[in-house]
Amino acid sequence: MTAPGGLGDIFLVILLTSLLSFGGGNGYIPVMQARWIETGLLDPALFSFVLGLSYLTPGPKSGFIAGVGYYLAGIPGALVAALAVVIPTCLGAAGVSYAAKSMEKIVSLVTPSSGFILAGLIAAAAWGTAAPMNLSPLHLAGIAVVAVLVMWR
């Protein structure tokens, strides 16, 4: 059931790794590397490929999880990987929602500043995305143009 790279293994590893994914999907990467790449079950080139694809495809960037599931166990692997994302996400969201319900006063206190907190988090995400890209001055100009267009909209 839980043979390395099998459906049970994919489900459990992704389900448990969700607990390390506070604030983003990057928590999956080191665990997948240790469990499936370093053990030879998954070619590093394939892993890099699906990581890159998840930036080119729409929706959440966690799409690479389905790609890893596919390379390990075909379509059933991709489905099990998706299920292992959906379950902890919905349980965690429900838990946080119930907790937030009992903290309405605190939520109302942070509401006026939430836009500024978001701005800092978004800017950090932008920097984190740009840093590994080895950007040329032309790319930086492109970023500036897109940013101004979005600001102006």
Partner: protein, 195 residues
Amino acid sequence: MLEPRPVNARRIFSLFLKVGATTFGGMWASTQKLEKALVTRAGWLKRHELQNLFVVSTLVPAPKFTSLGALVGFKTGGWFGSVAAVAGLILPGYVAVVAAAAVFRPDLLEGPLEPLNIAVGVAVVGVLFGNAYHQIRRSKVSRCQRLVGICLSASIFAAILAGVPLIAAAVVGFVAGAILIRPSAPLVVAAQDEA
């Protein structure tokens, strides 16, 4: 604040399917699109509620964007809404990644598709910076509080760049924001929603 409202799970799935099929670069790059879809068009949330959910999504042990979908789905349609939102949100991207993995060779991204890869990255970074600006611009606070808020944004940005975990930066930002930027008038939240 987070009481579920009865919205049909099929409608939730449909809306998030559209969001999942038309957004690139993750949750932070999609804040404006989500605001239009959830606040302006569907009317399921007020703007400040969505802003709070953006930040709360960093507290859920799961990827942020899917967490946001689950939070919105749970708030508007309960458990079924939560599952419907996450399923709709991830379906287009997951199917596209699996389809591409099945059809294309891994060296494609370093060959013919490299320019597209870089162009998408450049666009996403630009959209992110633009969205960060919008979050500051739309905050309805006094001029003095705005300056404090910009310093708060800059501090969170610098802290994350210095290696502080995102969740820690968000929590400290919440606490500092609650202390430094108090509602100066009872209608601050209402003004935010009207904007």
